[in-house]
């Protein structure tokens, strides 16, 4: 393993509102970590586009790779995109609870920022049984596709309006 100190990045989860990308730009972030956001991969597509527009580099990871980055001390902050939120917590895009738990474990601050509106709570099974429009799972396999999840307030440092 290299002796170099790993670079620390902000991990932005969920489809953040464009104004959030402006804040990242103001914070002079050169590279921002983006979990891809299955099943529709919106984060990989839309967040990347928005970051590139602002001359920042999206570093895309699969949704299962954040743990590795926390373990290697590569994440300095987690920004969760939320639909609704109050002192009790925030309703965020699916995956947010994993990053919140990892952040708690690794003592990394979690901030919540407004998301692009997500109207569905649950997706269709075929969304997870397919990848980029191609069926990957065998026929008759059931899929469970939660799209939003509740992150309790004790995991979140601050909810930004």
């Amino acid at each position: 393993m290299s002796n170099k100190k790993p670079l620390k990045h902000i991990l932005v989860h969920g489809q953040a509102a464009p104004a959030v990308m402006d804040i990242l730009k103001k914070k002079r972030q050169k590279t921002v970590v983006i979990p891809e956001g299955r099943p529709q991969l919106e984060a990989a597509k839309v967040n990347s586009r928005e970051l590139l527009k602002r001359n920042m580099t999206p570093l895309v990871i699969a949704d299962n790779m954040a743990g590795f980055m926390f373990y290697r001390n590569m994440i300095k902050e987690v920004w969760l995109a939320y639909q609704i939120g109050d002192a009790h917590g925030a309703l965020c895009d699916i995956g947010a609870l994993i990053y919140a738990v990892l952040a708690k474990k690794h003592r990394v601050p979690v901030l919540a920022y407004p998301a692009v509106e997500q109207k569905r709570f649950i997706g269709k099974p075929k969304e997870i049984c397919c990848f980029c429009g191609r069926r990957v799972a065998p026929p008759a396999v059931k899929g469970y596709v939660p799209l939003l999840e509740w992150v309790p307030g004790n995991y979140i440092g601050k909810i930004h309006e």
């Binding site: 999206p58 790779m65 990892l102 469970y144």
Partner: protein, 311 residues
């Protein structure tokens, strides 16, 4: 293995097609391992059978040339995927050959006989582990698994079914190669087990909502202190399981070759494998990707191991 050809199931094509790749030498074996056409226990079988192929090819070679071939084969296989402990197995094979020569015996015959015996032993031990795994699985369990446990989870679930236990499995899809969606679901469906596919980002959700009561995963490399490396994503599942008080079970192959997880080299794979699907890029140009193939789970997260002894 048939004659001088090893037929390797191309796991990347399952469940759409069942295709066997013909492997005739070490270079071809390294290629199927490196390109993840086979993985986990399949890789282990390829490693051992590659020696059998090379023994056949070196049938008439001198002992010196034969030993060179054995060492070269071991080196190439060891370097094929850095996270895997192939050297622990190839070292044993080379040692058999050296010992045979030291005792003025035919190393080809000895190595061949030992490999067959070793494989037979492993098969038996895996079946024994399946039985112990099935014991862990109780009637009404809803189990979360990640990636693919090389058939053993499916066999254990099938055994439970025979015993009248009702088991439900939640399988993560396991990006980017989707082994969970493809292989695990395929194996479980074949034995009639109720399997539900979820995205990798839904694991905390199913735990928080009490949809699962156990986690069972495999391990690709084990350490003396109990840490282990497994498919990327295992670490965050372990952390979430601890957070939500869900027992976390691991199938292991105990080894003392590395002290702790910090000593395991982690393979970083090509970003293209993450940013493209079937050759087509789905992420805007300019974006970069980061693809560590494995992560390490410290022993503190493990509730219980279900071990096999490969030595």
């Amino acid at each position: 293995m048939k004659g001088r050809v090893l037929n390797v199931l191309d796991e990347t094509l399952i469940p759409k097609k069942t295709v066997y790749i013909k492997v005739r030498n070490t270079a071809q074996a390294v290629k199927v391992i490196r390109s993840m056409k086979t993985r986990a226990f399949g890789q282990f079988l390829v490693v051992l059978n590659t020696f059998l192929l090379e023994i056949q090819a070196a049938d008439k070679a001198s002992d010196r040339v034969f030993m060179q071939k054995m060492n070269k084969t071991a080196q190439a296989l060891n370097a094929s995927r850095p996270t895997f402990p192939f050297s622990e197995v190839t070292g044993i094979v080379v040692h058999w050959a050296e010992e045979a020569l030291r005792h003025h015996e035919d190393p080809r015959k000895i190595v061949k006989r030992n490999i067959h015996g070793y494989l037979q032993g492993i098969r038996q031990q895996r079946l024994d582990r399946v039985a112990r795994l099935a014991k862990l699985m109780k009637n009404g369990d809803s189990i979360l698994t990640h990636c693919n446990v090389s058939g053993e989870l499916a066999m254990a679930a099938a055994l439970c079914r025979k015993q009248g236990k009702k088991i439900q499995i939640f399988a993560t899809e396991t990006r980017p190669y989707l082994q969970g969606a493809k292989l695990t679901c395929w194996e479980l469906k074949r034995v009639g087990i109720d399997v539900t596919l979820i995205a990798d980002n839904a694991v905390a959700s199913v735990m928080a909502d009490s949809l699962v009561n156990k986690v069972i995963v495999g391990s690709d490399r084990n350490c003396a202190n109990g840490d282990f490396a497994n498919k990327i994503g295992t670490y965050q599942i372990a952390v979430c399981a601890q957070e939500f008080n869900i027992p976390f079970y691991v199938l292991t192959q105990p080894s003392r070759a590395v002290k702790s997880g910090r000593d395991i080299p982690i393979e970083i794979r090509d970003e293209k494998e993450l940013l493209c699907y079937e050759g087509k890029r789905f992420v805007p140009r300019g974006a970069k990707g980061f693809y560590p193939g494995f992560d390490v789970v410290p022993y503190q997260y493990v509730t219980k191991t279900v071990a096999i002894n490969v030595k």
